[in-house]
């Protein structure tokens, strides 16, 4: 323990001293870590970041719901459900095969440009729609892995007491499946929490956009650092929580198998 503390302090101390004493540091500090610029940019960036958080929460709820519906549809068996399976597989291939940025540009600029009557044309709306479209496909695959991980005998035994296929999935398979994939779902949270910033290309004034505006005005990059700090403040705890949860889960499974 003592050795760990000493070696950590020494190593990081040396790095800090080297960085701070280098010739380039004053310029780096001025451009990236200026306290004055930080103070000036922070309120706007924080305001924009709040929108990121709202987009993230809103999109995540939709993603978890739609992803599960898609995964369940894909898991239904029997010839009658073939069209449904084809649709879900086509959707998943499409959504996962395209770069997210392309989807955001396509939906965020493309659909409003059609000026279809009755169709919303807000950049924010279509930005979130593109995020949901893409992430729900990945999430559906996570759920599906979970559904496949539940032993076949569970489904059989649910059918044997008279439940329909959908009831068996919903009451018996899915609850166990979700428990098995919670760490993977949490990983998706971390990823989405950052990717919401991509809608800035549509002109949505979220955190990164505000930082970008500040930078364009002042040619100082501290505003980006302010945005970076905010993203890290959210994503690092979620990442730590994911690790903690997975560890606990693994320990529980070990304890159960003894």
């Amino acid at each position: 323990m003592l050795i760990a503390v000493i070696s950590t302090v020494v190593v990081f101390g040396v790095i800090v001293v080297l960085v701070l004493s280098s010739e380039a540091w004053p310029a780096v500090q001025r451009q990236f870590f200026s306290w004055t610029h930080f103070q000036a940019a922070f309120p706007k960036v924080l305001g924009g970041f709040w929108l990121d958080i709202k987009m993230f929460l809103f999109a995540e709820v939709l993603i978890l719901g739609i992803g599960l519906a898609v995964a369940m549809a894909r898991s239904l068996r029997g010839p009658a459900f073939l069209p449904l399976r084809i649709i879900t597989i086509a959707y998943i291939d499409l959504a996962r095969g395209l770069p997210l940025l392309l989807l955001i540009l396509l939906m965020g600029f493309g659909i409003p440009a059609l000026q279809l009557p009755g169709v919303p044309n807000g950049a924010l709306f279509w930005g979130i729609a593109a995020l949901v479209f893409s992430y729900a496909a990945y999430t559906a695959e996570v759920y599906r892995a979970g559904i496949d991980s539940v032993h076949e005998s569970q489904r059989m035994s649910a059918r044997s007491i008279g439940l329909t296929q959908t009831q068996s999935l919903w009451h018996v398979v899915v609850p166990q499946a979700v428990r098995n994939v919670i760490p993977a779902l949490l990983n998706g949270f971390v990823s989405l929490q950052k990717d919401v910033a991509l809608v800035f290309v549509l002109g949505v004034r979220e955190g990164l956009r505000e930082a970008d505006i500040y930078n364009a005005r002042t040619f100082n990059y501290t505003s980006y650092i302010a945005a970076a700090v905010l993203f890290l403040l959210v994503s690092v705890p979620v990442a730590r929580f994911t690790d903690w949860y997975s560890d606990r889960d693994r320990r529980r499974k070990q304890a159960m198998s003894t």
Partner: protein, 249 residues
């Protein structure tokens, strides 16, 4: 003569080209207990799953209470509600308490209100000495208790036919007795049952008819005295001899 409860004619099933059931004929009279014996892989489990329509037959007819349930027009969900099946590995739902395991079927299939379903379930649990386990999760129960819960779960919708698939094979030897006791009780109440089992002593004891399944057919069937005492077929004699040699009969 009373019409049979269950009738199988020429039931065949292959898995990926491997013929498991070739042409199974079987008659089960009401209140009769039929024990199916045979080597592992002889198709006993598959046959029970076919009767429950969990596995679709390739050809042949299964007639339950005069209705050919293998007809394409028959809704398998409706058929399954009229019979109970219990599996070797219990297959309780691990994320649900015992009481919820039992009431899930009645609540979701028969739309029985929760309170009423729980009352029925507790009554049954009480009868099988499991009432104090109602609110536990399955992994807190012994294997024998889990299997008894699985039997209660199958019984709760008042099936007219019970299918038991090697229900004691996954149990520690000292827990086998309690489960066999439950089955004896069911027989005493007049339940019609088809039981796949490796417990020859039990089969001899409880069965009205013993059927020896071999090569995808019921090779020989008859009263336990005849099958165990004076088997007609060489394959049956061979099988039983191995059981005796292994000290299991």
């Amino acid at each position: 003569m009373t019409p049979p409860k269950l009738l199988l004619r020429g039931v065949a099933k292959s898995f990926e080209g491997k013929e498991v059931l070739r042409a199974v004929d079987l008659d089960v009279a009401p209140h009769q207990v039929v024990c199916l014996i045979g080597t592992s892989g002889s198709g006993k489990s598959t046959l029970l799953k076919c009767i429950n329509l969990l596995v679709p037959v390739d050809s042949g007819d299964i007639v339950l209470d005069g209705v050919t349930i293998t007809d394409p027009g028959v809704n398998p969900n409706t058929v399954r509600q009229t019979m109970g099946i219990v599996f070797q590995a219990f297959n309780l739902f691990p994320h649900m308490r015992v009481i919820d395991n039992i009431t899930l079927g009645p609540r979701k299939v028969h739309r029985v209100p929760r309170a009423e379903a729980e009352e029925q379930a507790r009554e049954l649990l009480d009868r099988f000495g499991l009432l104090d386990r109602a609110d536990e999760y399955p992994d807190r129960l012994s294997g024998g208790q889990q299997q008894r819960v699985a039997i209660v779960r199958a019984l709760v919708s008042k099936p007219g036919l019970m299918l038991l698939d090697e229900v004691t094979s996954a149990l520690d030897p000292e827990l086998v007795g309690e489960v066999l006791g439950v089955i004896r009780d069911l027989k005493a109440e007049g339940m019609t049952m088809v039981i796949a089992t490796h417990e020859m002593g039990f089969a001899r004891d409880v069965a009205d008819v013993v059927g020896f399944l071999d090569g995808g057919v019921v090779l020989e069937q008859g009263p336990p005295m005849a099958i165990f005492g004076n088997p007609q077929q060489a394959r049956t004699r061979q099988f039983l001899q191995r059981i005796v040699d292994a000290g299991r009969l």
